[in-house]
């Protein structure tokens, strides 16, 4: 099975071509450009340079959220557009799960974090036993403070931070959780390879969807909502 996977959920953009688990090609950029300008040339070049036709793709995978509003919409719209005329299936992958599956083999807790601004993060926790990954929490939005309280519970384990929220979480929490482990720069930011790995698992479990059904996944930020309400009430 050949999978074309893309990620545009944060400042980085990437596309990967994976055939039966083998990474045939990958593009990754992390500069301040607009994904709407870079994504299509990346996909075009990836296919051209690997001698792949769009019709050779069996599954189109995208990190459908959480992530930046515009970024997620660019990724989802692109995959919808590519898959629709070919009637090929799509996989709406959790950005956080894709990160967990792009980790090297470790044993411990994988803490996938994305910066949701206002001291909030999108997060999910996974347990990795020498690369066998098990999900511990759902994808959610929570404050860095709340995340700290949860991570304190896993103090005995190695805790690996991955994702574009790594730096802000590490800087905020390291005084109290000094054993947090930073993933290296080459894997810290989301990569579409992880997206393809999760998509293949979803395909095995019949969890793919049609191009029509593919939708962005947005997470609510409950604490931010509460703060605004409190603020508006006190202001009145």
């Amino acid at each position: 099975m050949r999978i074309l996977a893309i990620d545009t959920t944060a400042s980085a953009v990437s596309a990967a071509l994976v055939k039966d688990g083998f990474l045939e090609g990958e593009f990754f950029l992390n500069v301040k450009t607009t994904h709407s300008q870079t994504l299509m040339p990346i996909i075009d070049n990836l296919l051209k340079l690997t001698n792949t036709k769009l019709d050779d793709i069996d599954l189109f995978a995208v990190d459908a959220g959480p992530g930046s509003f515009t970024g997620v919409r660019i990724g989802v719209a692109t995959v919808k557009g590519l898959s629709l005329p070919l009637s090929k299936p799509c996989a709406a992958v959790s950005t956080l799960e894709a990160m967990a599956y792009s980790m090297p083999r470790v044993s411990g807790i994988i803490c996938a974090v994305m910066d949701a601004r206002c001291s909030q993060v999108y997060n999910a926790l996974f347990r990795s036993d020498d690369g066998i990954i098990e999900r511990i929490t759902e994808d959610r939005a929570l404050s860095i403070e709340e995340l700290k309280n949860e991570l304190a519970y896993y103090e005995e384990d190695n805790i690996y931070l991955i994702g574009d929220g790594t730096n802000i979480v590490y800087d905020t929490l390291v005084p109290e959780l000094p054993d947090l482990i930073l993933t290296t720069n080459n894997i810290r930011y989301q990569h579409a390879y992880g997206t393809a790995v999760v998509a293949e698992r979803m395909s095995d479990m019949n969890k793919t969807c049609t191009s029509d059904e593919l939708m962005p996944i947005y997470l609510r930020v409950p604490q931010a909502e509460r703060e605004l309400k409190a603020k508006q009430q006190s202001g009145k």
Partner: protein, 146 residues
């Protein structure tokens, strides 16, 4: 943030002078500032933005983005001009793409009152208060001395 922000109060006797003050502020910008404006209807927020845009080489076309939510102007820096009048929740704000504009240019935000808890702490606050029909007191917090 905790650190004491530099606060200056300026007096404007006309809309024209409000624009000039904004133009002076524009000259101090580095390109990725977030400028949060506070002040009710008719305070002169759009006049201030017009002056700011002029200071960055954008000469015309500045109007209040009440319906479009955001207008983009290209000058010395990109300027993203937001109007948060109709924005009442974090979800509303998120779905304007607000956070995706951060660090891409200068963000000028009218009706910041509505989203104050979600604004980054590192920002410039502009409060425009009405003294009389034409006079305003403009309080600028977090910018260089004008």
């Amino acid at each position: 943030m905790g650190e004491k922000q530099f606060l200056q109060k300026l007096y404007s006797k006309s809309e024209r002078q409000t624009e000039e003050i904004a133009e002076r502020l524009a000259k101090t910008l580095k390109g990725t500032e977030i400028i949060a404006m506070f002040g009710g209807l008719g305070a002169g927020k759009t006049a201030f933005t017009r002056g700011l845009a002029r200071g960055l080489g954008i000469d015309d076309g500045v109007s209040s983005p009440t319906f479009a939510l955001v207008h983009e102007y290209e000058g010395k820096f990109m300027v993203y001009h937001f109007d948060m009048y109709r924005i009442g929740s974090y979800d509303d704000l998120y779905s304007t793409g607000f956070y995706d504009y951060q660090d891409q240019g200068v963000m000028v935000i009218e009706w910041s009152e509505n989203i104050e808890p979600f604004l980054p702490e590192k920002r410039i606050n502009i409060k425009i208060e009405r003294i009389s029909d034409s006079e305003r007191e403009i309080t600028i917090e977090g910018a260089e001395k004008l």
